[in-house]
Amino acid sequence: MKTYAKPPAKEWDHDASTTARAGADPLLEVRHVAKRFGGREVLRDISLDVASGEFLTILGESGSGKTTLLRLIAGFEQPSNGEIWMSGERLDTQPPYRRRVNTVFQSYALFPHLTVAENVAYGMRVQGVPRAEIPPRVAEALAMVKMSASAETPPARLSGGMQQRVALARALVNRPKLLLLDEPLSALDANLRRQMQTELKALQREIGITFLFVTHDQDEAMALSDRIALLRAGALEQIASPREIYNSPTSAYTAQFIGQTNLLTAQVSGGTARAGCLLWPCAAPEGPATFSLRPEHIRLVDGASGGNPASCRFRAKLENQTFCGSTDMLEIVSPDGQHLRVRVPSRGILEDEVDLEFSAKDCVRLRDAGSS
């Protein structure tokens, strides 16, 4: 049984605008955590902080270890190395039922032998919350996820989206400090999924509980998160806000995983980067380097010459033009044979030869570049 004092009711009306603040005490600290199953290394030296009230997404391909990290925090697995702390207390040595952490499972994991209301009341029942207090809190939680009408229904009769809401209410009613969500939207169809994303984000703002969200869907991560932690094969690739991770990826992997990009393999010398026939001013250290250039940062221009000195103009052959509604995706080949993708506001059918331009500032130098 949990022994913590009941949090003040005010916690529900927590100020909405909280985001990750540098310098604020982190709610959760993951320190050098590693996890091995048998000889297989699933997580390698993961360190990250989660600020109170933050919406942090752990993003990664399947097999990247993101769910394992979540299960370590929930307490279903033990780390092979490292420590996990929450609010200044060691978390990883505690059994799952003593952690002020609740989970929304990918399969929802509702109890089929209990009604919706009994499912939501479960946590309070087993923790010995006074009986009189339970029904109003269940009603409040069900109202919050708009499921009041189904309180007496067995969960098997509900649709996936409705079960999802019940699972959310069942977790949130316990007023956890941290809510873990394991790909909670992956079983829903596209429309419902978008709607639930909006609601989830609004809910998180409203109640101010810290969310740790696991997904493999980069669009979902971008839309919801204050920060994204990108996992790659069990290691932390980059952790930053959606804007930062999109605009300043540190590695080719991040640049390609979050959105689409062109990778330019260049040689920097004398303040100029040269990738084949493409030249642009560059302050990076001398030597080989790889740059990321987003498709939307390449523009169509009139005429192959001119333009300002901080940009690069070139003429290229158009191989393919795909209409995507508001934009067109162009596949082009530069005179020296580099294939690039370009996204431009949609217009009519283009000619076979096009003139293009990009600014030097949009070429982002990547860490794991060139020679390494």
């Binding site: 049984m1 039922y97 109890f111 089929p112 479960y122």
Partner: protein, 283 residues
């Protein structure tokens, strides 16, 4: 019978006759047994004459038979309790704990299913003699209970394998300790396999002869009572009790089948009324 059923339609003619023959071979003796329980002219003679309920009247006033039925029910219920309460921990261990010698343990648990009843019975008898116990219904109960643990273990293990483990994790996550999780989530999820295993063990125990034969004391179970009477000559009273057993068994099998199909066709567990009334009957 199941061999004949799923064949393609083209060969239906020959196979139909074959299937009918197999069914006749299986069920004709039972039909004869039932008919002769109403035969006024005793067990012999064809066709049956003077149809009567006399044998059932005699049966219902036969104290010895009903004492034997009571003994059998006591033994079966006790065997169900023993087998389930020992089989559940064994199934849990097989499902979720990894320990040295697990593969061996698994085979040893299943051994009584494969061993001939004579071996099991004889070894239990030697054990009872060794400990200096007197043979009685108690020894029969212990014999049935231990021999049928394997049935309980396999049925409950299958049930555990089908269970969604995330439910137990959800329970722990919501603040229930392991003990609370077992009582509030694991056990309710197992109500169906528990009921099914209970029914199966009950029926197996009710008609067990081999093990019982070695361990029986002065109080006969029903199969041994019938066996004893047959040695003194057949009367249609035996047909009558056999007919009642047959009806009872079919009812149990239908009920068991009903539980099974319900468990498979919907994610919903049993509604509260049925397993409770059934478990009430067991206790």
């Amino acid at each position: 019978m199941s061999a004949a059923a799923p064949q393609p339609r083209t060969k239906a003619g020959g196979l139909g006759i074959y299937a009918a023959a197999v069914f006749a071979f299986l069920y004709f003796p039972i039909v004869v047994l039932v008919i002769y329980s109403f035969n006024g002219a005793g067990v012999g003679g064809f066709p049956p004459r003077n149809l009567t309920l006399e044998w059932y009247r005699i049966l219902f006033s036969d104290r010895a038979i009903w004492d034997a039925v009571l003994n059998s029910v006591i033994v079966a219920l006790a065997a169900v309790m023993i087998a389930l309460s020992l089989g559940l921990p064994a199934a849990l261990a097989l499902d979720r704990v990894s320990f040295p010698g697990k593969a061996l343990f698994r085979r040893l648990v299943l051994l009584p299913l494969i061993l001939p009843g004579i071996i099991t019975g004889l070894s239990l008898l030697m054990f009872v003699r060794y400990t200096g116990q007197k043979l009685s219904l108690l020894t029969v109960i212990l014999g049935h209970g231990t021999a049928l643990i394997s049935v309980a273990t396999t049925e409950l293990f299958a049930g555990l394998q089908k269970m969604d483990r995330a439910q137990e994790e959800a329970s722990l996550d919501l603040g229930a300790n392991y003990w609370q999780t077992f009582w509030r989530v694991t056990l309710p999820n197992l109500s169906l396999p528990l009921a099914a295993a209970g029914l199966l063990i009950f029926t197996l125990s009710m008609d067990e002869i081999a093990v019982t034969f070695f361990l029986i004391g002065r109080d006969n179970t029903l199969p041994l009572e019938i066996w004893g009477r047959l040695r003194r000559g057949m009367t249609p009273e035996i047909n009558a009790i056999s007919t009642l057993i047959f009806i009872f068994s079919v009812a149990l099998i239908l009920f068991w089948y009903h539980l099974r199909t319900r468990g498979q066709s919907s994610a919903e567990p049993l509604l509260a009324a049925e397993p409770e009334s059934f478990q009430g009957k067991l206790r």
